[in-house]
């Protein structure tokens, strides 16, 4: 789907000559001439105009009727009058009509002061009302959901929220009920509107009909400040506008970046700001003292950490995650490599990926932009669930498929929310993304596929169907991949990119979804075992990746661990190994906002972490866009800038001094990372810059030699057992659990099963079960999902209780809690019976002896 390239035309509006792209809607084109045409229902983000509210009526010469500017494409030579007598009369009429049933309760309305209805009434209304009949009444306000209140009296029936629900997340939950003047917005049977992106309707509503329940009555527009920021709760890095009152964040709004978020936010990003101001948040340093964590002053904590790290020396390892910035990553690298003499640092789970692989993956020629998802011929979603891993992309993919006919192809282990939108979807065996990529590359190249297909656990017919679909789709193809696909063999993805010729295509390429918000930036800043800043050779060779770090901590070879916004017991696979690793380590220094399980048990020093509104620095979007974080709110409690904490530790350990300001530190980063060379903080401004588009960027050569595929052995079915696959829900985050408004969404372990498997195991939906890999077990509720692939049980990762990373797989058994308990009871009973029998024989023997 090539992007449209409109030509420029000239038209006249209210006597001004204005240039605009041809076919732009008049309502938008008018703005280019500094003329505002009032609109209510028009919102380009929602797709084609619907012409419902009639607010935008204008006069166009040569047309007998007034026209709606929101739906009239501008043409060369068009002559438009927005304030002619006829237009004015019609505009006043529409305002009058809209107000006759409006309660006019502006004084107590949250929208007051930032309300389009107020503004348009003032600007275009007739300033009078002739309506003296009774208005229509509804009970108000009502809960549309735990997050959103609806006041139906204020609703002007613009249809925005309903169109949103149907056209953007495509959840079809919101509908207009009844008709005519009795119409009202609602849901089927009054069910709450709970969905991952529901909060966007609050911002879309042009009146105070839909309001945020967490924000209701918290502030008035004249008491608040607006601050641009970026959400760092996932790699999407959506641009946000924060509503700040008295240095507290009270609301998160979108800051429409067409290349990042397209003007939407997920509910996590919109409401989890509450976690900034809750009691559970760590806001002062702590040390473990006599086995328990206790709050201390900064000096004490710093001294403790410095002493421990000095003892750790080159036996120290470090992990970074969460929303840690590039600058923090840079300093963490300096601390480890230059000060402590260790290169064991990583920013992702699993085994280390080699430097040539990272460099090849970062090749700008292979880099796809976010907006390519909307205009490519096809998108292959590979080994990720956008809705959970980078939520906002779910909306972008739907948009491309819906509006531009982008072919959507899905290759995942678990059923995807996008399946119903997809042109083709295939399932591979859990954890076998790399094998799938090899198999697909082979199919596209016309090479034998059997070995790889078997290792991937897919039927060759399905594989060829997918390959054909990709081949027939067109040249511009984007592969949206989860970084998990690099486990096993990172060469697989590169082979697939090569087979599709992605390096030669402008509108296609690779777009990787890291597990953490700034995964790409941390890597590029040098938080990876075998590369320094800018994916250059590290100052120290021989670094180990996360998995090896765990092994070596557990064996005692490494003794200290520095954790920057990550808790491997919660976030990484093999919780048991990490438990042992942390238990054995003599020092665990962590920057954290919440006491997650690994830290609660094992941290020796904890520094309070910043949230993104408190932070200064840069982060890098998965598509290479370097974005700037500015301070938007004051630090809570005793929180200090994390980069300063790292700098202080470096200095106390005798390292080279860190630049004195955040700005200077960012400049140092741009210097250290060669392909960030052209960047300046001011250049990043509010929208960021994609380094793969910068001229200086190509320090990464194309030199990459494909190696033979490394295929793992096929996963075999085992009688009475299922394979286990894992995923992380969008709601699996401490910030969700800690935000009062979102807490109701906190996930509890559930095991997703195909109906056939459930039947074979005699399990019912919602039944409580125990899942065991033979040694370890987790408890869960059964969830039957129609699209779940047979033979595999899916469990959630990153849960504080019963997280799937406790299990090792690949096979598990599932039994009901009831049967496990019955068995345990039987065992106890048997044991008791045996003991009773024994006592009896003993007593008898004694009695015999006595006699």
């Amino acid at each position: 789907m090539p992007r449209p390239q409109p030509s420029e035309i000239t038209f006249s509006i209210d006597g001004r000559e204005v240039k605009a792209p041809e076919d732009m809607m008049l309502a938008d084109a008018a703005k280019l001439g500094d003329i505002e045409i009032p609109v209510f229902c028009y919102e380009p983000k929602l797709g084609p105009p619907v012409g419902a509210c009639r607010m935008c009526l204008v006069e166009i010469e040569g047309m007998p009727k007034l026209q709606t500017a929101c739906s009239t494409a501008v043409k060369d030579g068009m002559v438009v009058h927005t304030r002619s007598e006829r237009a004015r009369v019609a505009q006043e009429a529409v305002v009058e009509f809209l107000l006759i049933n409006h309660p006019l309760d502006c004084p107590v309305c949250d929208k007051g002061g930032e309300c389009p209805l107020q503004d348009i009434t003032f600007g275009w209304g007739g300033g009078k009302s002739r309506f003296i009949e009774p208005k229509r009444h509804f009970r108000k306000p009502l809960e549309l959901s735990p997050l959103i209140a609806i006041d139906r009296e204020r609703c002007i029936l613009c249809y925005r929220c309903v169109r949103y629900s149907q056209e953007i997340p495509e959840d079809y939950q919101l509908v207009l009920l009844e008709r005519g003047a009795e119409s009202f917005v609602g849901t089927f049977d009054g069910h709450p509107y709970v969905a991952p992106f529901s909060g966007n309707i609050v911002e879309l509503c042009p009146v105070g009909a839909l309001t945020s329940r967490p924000y209701r009555f918290r502030a008035r527009p004249w008491e608040i400040e607006d601050a641009g920021s970026i959400c760092t709760l996932c790699p999407a890095q959506c641009n946000t506008r924060l509503t700040v009152r008295d240095e507290r964040v009270l609301r998160v709004l979108d800051r429409n970046h067409p290349e990042v978020d397209d003007g939407w936010l997920c509910d996590k990003g919109r409401f989890a700001y509450q976690a900034m101001h809750v009691d559970e948040r760590i806001t002062s340093p702590m040390i473990r003292d006599g086995g328990v964590l206790r709050e201390v002053g900064w000096d004490r904590a710093l001294a403790e950490a410095v002493g421990a790290l000095r003892r750790g020396g080159s036996a120290t390892a470090a992990l970074a995650g969460g929303g840690a910035t590039n600058e923090e990553g840079l300093l963490l690298g300096r601390l480890l490599r230059e000060v402590l003499g260790s290169s064991h640092l990583d920013s992702r789970d699993g085994e280390a990926v080699s430097l040539p692989h990272w460099r090849a993956l970062a090749n700008p020629k292979l880099a796809a932009r976010v907006s390519d998802l909307e205009f490519a011929h096809a998108v292959l979603v590979l080994d990720c669930e956008p809705l959970d891993d980078m939520p906002i992309l779910d909306l972008r993919l739907r948009k491309g498929a819906r509006r531009n006919g982008v072919k959507l192809l899905i290759a995942t282990e678990r059923a995807s929310a996008l399946d119903s939108r997809a042109d083709a979807a295939i399932r591979f065996a859990p954890g076998r993304g790399a094998e799938l990529a090899w198999a697909l590359a082979a199919a596209l190249r016309g090479e034998p596929v059997d070995a790889a297909a078997q290792a991937a656990g897919i039927a060759t017919d399905d594989l060829h169907a997918l390959a054909d679909a990709l081949r027939d789709a067109g040249r511009e193809i984007v592969i949206l991949y989860g970084e998990r696909v690099l486990d096993g063999d990172p060469g697989a993805l590169l082979a697939l990119a090569d087979a599709l010729g992605l390096a030669e295509q402008d509108g296609g390429g690779l777009l990787g979804v890291p597990a953490v918000a700034n995964g790409r930036g941390l890597r590029e800043a040098g938080v990876t075992p075998n590369a320094g800043p800018g994916l250059g050779l590290p100052a120290l060779a021989g670094g180990h990746g996360a998995r090896e770090i765990a092994r070596r901590l557990a064996s005692g070879e490494l003794t200290a661990l520095y954790l920057l916004q990550v808790d491997p017991v919660l976030h990484y696979s093999d919780a048991e190994l990490w438990e042992r690793a942390l238990a054995r380590a003599t020092t665990v220094v962590a920057h954290a906002s919440f006491l997650t399980p690994g830290l609660r048990e094992h941290a020796t020093v904890i520094f309070p972490a910043e949230t993104s509104p408190e932070k200064e620095g840069t982060i890098t979007h998965p598509d290479g866009r370097v974005q700037r974080l500015r301070v938007a709110a004051a630090h809570a409690g005793d929180v200090r800038a994390e980069w300063r904490v790292l700098a202080e530790i470096i200095e106390r350990l005798g390292g080279a001094p860190t630049p004195p300001t955040a700005r200077a530190l960012s400049e140092a980063l741009f210097e250290d990372v060669p392909f960030y060379g052209g960047l300046t903080l001011d250049g990043l401004a509010g929208r960021g810059l994609r380094w793969p588009e910068l001229q200086v960027s190509n320090t990464l050569s194309d030199a990459y030699e494909e190696a033979e595929p490394k295929l793992r052995k096929p996963l075999r079915a085992a009688k009475g057992k299922l394979l286990v696959g894992t995923y992380r829900s969008i709601w699996a985050a401490p910030e969700v659990a800690a935000s009062p408004a979102l807490a109701f969404l906190t996930p509890r372990q559930r095991v997703e099963l195909a109906a056939a498997d459930a039947e074979a195991l005699e399990l019912r939906h919602d039944e409580a079960v125990v899942i065991s890999d033979g040694e370890r077990e987790v408890r869960a509720r059964v969830v039957l999902r129609a699209a779940a692939p047979a033979g595999t049980a899916f469990l959630e990762r990153e849960l504080e209780e019963d997280g799937a990373n406790v299990l090792r797989g690949p096979h598990v058994t599932i039994r009901t809690v009831a049967s496990v308990e019955a068995e345990a009871a039987a065992l106890i009973a048997a044991e008791e019976a045996r003991a009773a029998a024994e006592t009896e024989t003993l007593a008898q023997a004694e009695a015999e002896q006595v006699t």
Binding site: R54, A93, V94, E96, F97, G180, A181
Partner: protein
């Protein structure tokens, strides 16, 4: 005075049965179009000058020619929603002669190069739906519908779909949404259905009567058909006459005859001793005319010149026994009830108008309210998404303009008695 084309055999016993219909020459025109080129069919329709019988009066041949040529999925939708108050012609036509509709559908499909057709029939027409179902099954069995009709390379499938009781689903784009399984709300035009209609494909939408006229046109030849009627309004029209007349019912007339001949000549005029006060010439959406207009020729252009419209061809007569306020209230309430609510002027304007009329009825209004009411009608007209808003505002506006004195008298009387008169 009457001219029977569609109604020629209408009272033939069992005409709804395919054998009877065939005996009367039925399906011969279908056979004929199978061997004609698409362009030849189109040019017959064009030559006939047939204008749509559903309300808007758009030339039928021209509309069919708007559909893009090519292989994409195209659709024909027969609008059998017939919900315009006073209109009951399609009911009789479908009930008594369903096969002529099927034959017309195949002809129109041929003209548009279409092979999927639907009939959208209003939910209340249960009996007619059953008759159509039977007729469609017979036509399939006889090979007049389905793949390769009568061995030709023309294929047309036909599905009957029943509405659920909403006037707005007679509006062509609301109908399309409803047919797609959505809430029946009108769509923004352009794009017009001929370009982007049902399921996004090019779609031809015609009224039952329009389609049923097509076999007649092919039988007679377009030029011959055009000789009937008057210039700009060729052919015959079924007129539904109701209200205060002695012989209400459907009459087929040649277009262009004086309206008086229909109301008095055919329908017998008001009961003895009463006189025509006002009449809707084309369904309740048409601005009202008065006794002075009885000699206006009954055709599209003459009625438009007289300030009203031919619409669906439903004449509703109101005699001097009925207060104009009652007529206005009844009319306005209908449109308030049927407004889909999508656009502001219609949704709020119909509701406001009813409330004002109720206040007038209750004796709580002043002549100033009449001005407000008239201005509200003007605020609606031309400003809505579809023409349902206008369909209330135009008749109400015309009643205020033509019967202002009566409204004012009512107010005075009501104020004096302190209650509704």
């Amino acid at each position: 005075m009457t001219q029977a084309l569609l109604f020629k055999d209408i009272d033939e016993p069992n005409l709804a049965d395919i054998a009877v219909y065939e005996r009367r020459g039925g399906y011969e025109q279908l056979r004929k179009v199978l061997s004609m080129s698409q362009d030849a069919v189109l040019s017959e329709l064009d030559a006939s000058g047939l204008r749509g019988r559903g309300g808007a009066g758009f030339p039928a041949g021209r509309k069919a020619s708007f559909l893009p040529k090519g292989d994409m999925d195209k659709y024909l939708v027969c609008n059998a929603d017939e919900s315009e108050p006073g209109t009951f012609k399609d009911r009789e036509l479908m009930q008594k002669c369903p096969h002529a509709l099927i034959e017309g559908i195949v002809i129109a499909a041929r003209a548009g190069g279409i092979n999927r057709a639907f009939i959208y029939i209003r939910g209340e027409y249960e009996e007619q739906a059953q008759i159509l179902d039977r007729a469609i099954a017979q036509a399939y069995d006889a090979g007049y519908l389905g793949e390769r009709i009568l061995g030709s390379d023309v294929s047309v499938s036909l599905v009957l779909h029943r509405g659920a009781g909403a006037y707005i689903c007679g509006e062509e784009t609301g109908l399309l949404d409803s047919l797609e399984g959505k809430r029946g709300n009108p769509r923004l035009k352009p794009p017009f259905p001929a370009i982007e209609g049902l399921y996004g494909g090019p779609t031809l939408i015609n009224n039952v009567e329009t389609l049923m006229t097509m076999p007649q046109i092919l039988r007679m030849g377009g030029n011959k058909y055009a000789e009937l009627g008057v210039s700009g309004s060729s052919g015959t029209k079924i007129v539904s006459v109701s209200g205060h007349v002695q012989r209400p019912g459907n009459y087929e007339i040649e277009l262009g005859i004086p309206s008086r001949e229909i109301i008095y000549g055919l329908a017998g005029g008001p009961p003895p001793g009463r006189s025509v006060k006002l009449w809707f010439p084309g369904g309740s959406s048409a601005p009202v005319l008065t006794a002075e207009d009885l000699d206006v020729p009954y055709d599209f252009d003459s009625l438009a010149k007289a300030g009203s419209m031919l619409g669906s061809g439903a004449i509703i007569v109101v005699d001097d026994s009925t207060p104009v306020l009652d007529v206005a209230l009844k009319t306005a309430r209908f449109y308030r009830h049927e407004s889909c609510g999508k656009c502001t002027p219609c949704r709020e304007g119909t509701n406001w108008t009813v409330k004002m009329l109720e206040r007038i009825e209750a004796g709580e209004a002043t002549p100033m309210d009449l001005d407000i009411m008239a201005s509200v009608q003007e605020q609606i007209i031309g400003n809505c998404l579809c023409v349902l808003g206008d369909a209330m505002a135009m008749p109400i506006g015309s009643m205020i303009a033509k019967f202002r004195g009566e409204f004012e008298k009512h107010m005075q009387r009501a104020q004096l008695t302190g209650a509704s008169a």
